[in-house]
Subunit: 297 residues, 2 copies
């Protein structure tokens, strides 16, 4: 990625972050602590991929104005909620994430459970604010349906459950695919589909966006597995070869590095091909997808 | 309450329960365990007050058909989610509820966190099914907004946060009111308001329903405090004088039993007065409110 593109990515990420932050609760009132814990967790950083992808798909279909804002904030809140609960002592027991103390390490175990719950529900409350920003209540309703379905037991939370249950056990390809599609793929899919629906894309185009998102999500995951084998701690900012150490079944351990690389290439080409067939054009989105898939960290 | 009324209450509770159960997930697929944990928790019993109140307010305003069903299931799922997380070791650390093992005691700490998350989000997913059952998307949107707002940080979860933070510390009347209004009151309020909105009640009548719900919610809580002082373990099915033992500030400890009784009476009279001024009539709802407020357990 050249410097110009990197600058644009930085700027867009900042813009998206600003939108997300504008929906966070004011830290006042008797329940101040939960507001602080929520805001701390959302502001702890991250690539802001989901709201970024959502906004760019929205723009691709000619979406204008701020009706997409509440949905962008909602998807990032849900993502953050999942990180808070993932880090809990009864789950991954992580005290640090991205070099910062995790929510439970700062606010306590009980407050972290509540902060995760709070962000999950505040995401829906925030998404509901889109009803005030467009006359098309059906469109907003459809997005809330996608958001809740792709977050819930047939989406992210469902994938997380299977991942937790299978920890330390060897996985079949089928189960690995299931976890990848749901645990990380589902929210990426929701991000892009909501962008399309909010912009008023046709049902057919929304289907295509879904196929594109599924390809991006899977390529993203496989690349993650590849980097764990091929990168260094300096570049990645976290320990490498961790999957092998933890006896974790990955795409690379099942299929080998060669096939993994081929599949990333095929999936990203598929995603770009679908993108180019869609009406409208968004060069940044194309770059973003390539960057996600071929990233070095 | 005479036998005839008790029979009717039992029958209605069974009907409401059937509706709620019809929306529970099928226990199949890789994420079977989470489905089982969710269903176990919802089926563990309870008065089903929230969906019952919702349905009766819906009927009061002439609501017909099954559009209210998804909302009834949603509110009970949210209530159940809050119980699962309340019982966790990091919160109340309860191994039993209503004589049955709590969710974490059966399915483990991690699965209980996930089951609570799952029910919270599946409630929204279920509520979204109402979009298929009515042409009025705005009405459903308004109900999802009420549901998420009254569940979230300005509702149930907000109240729960303050309750957890203030544990073991003496409360001022102001803080006690805040906790009562939010922790238990908010979902009772949501139940009744959603019943009204889904039936197409006027905005003015929805406001009245809210006032009625606030009075019922507060009276319900104060009666809880009274029973802890005046009832016996045999009648209540749980230890009495627990608030005193736990140094818990209650309405009774702050205002005395005499004033507490007067206020329950005044609040329930207020609720019944508002109910009688509303268009339509629902004798069962009137009985239900009296029963809730003057209950002996």
């Amino acid at each position: 990625m050249n410097t110009l593109k990197k600058d644009q990515l930085l700027q867009y990420t900042r813009e998206v972050e600003e939108t997300v932050y504008s929906f966070l609760p004011e830290e006042a009132g008797p329940q101040k602590t939960i507001f602080e814990a929520m805001n701390y967790s959302v502001k702890a950083g991250g690539k802001r991929l989901r709201p970024l992808l959502m906004r760019e798909v929205y723009r691709l279909f000619g979406g204008k104005g701020d009706a997409i804002g509440p949905m962008m904030a909602a998807i990032e809140m849900i993502h953050t909620s999942s990180l808070i609960h993932d880090d809990l002592p009864c789950m991954d027991n992580d005290e640090y994430r991205r070099g910062k103390k995790t929510t439970w390490a700062v606010y306590g175990y009980d407050m972290a459970v509540l902060a995760g719950d709070a962000l999950l529900m505040y995401a829906v409350e925030t998404a509901s604010k889109a009803f005030d920003k467009t006359e098309d209540a059906k469109r907003v309703g459809e997005c809330i349906r996608i958001l809740s379905e792709r977050t819930g037991i047939y989406g992210m939370i469902g994938g997380q459950t299977v991942d937790v249950e299978m920890t330390g056990r060897p996985l079949k390809r089928e189960t690995l695919d299931f976890i990848y599609r749901l645990k990380t793929g589902a929210l990426l899919e929701a991000s892009m589909r909501i962008g399309a629906v909010m912009a008023g894309a046709s049902e057919e185009d929304c289907e295509r966006v879904r196929d594109m998102a599924l390809a991006v999500g899977l390529a993203f995951q496989i690349q993650d597995d590849i980097l764990d084998v091929t990168s260094s701690q300096e570049v990645l900012g976290k320990p490498v070869l961790s999957d092998e150490k933890n006896n974790k079944t990955t795409y690379v351990s099942l299929e080998g590095i060669g096939k993994a690389r081929e599949d990333v290439k095929a999936l990203s080409e598929k995603a770009i091909r679908i993108l180019k067939e869609l009406p409208g054009s968004n060069v940044f989105l194309e770059d973003l997808i390539r960057m996600l898939v071929y990233r070095e960290k």
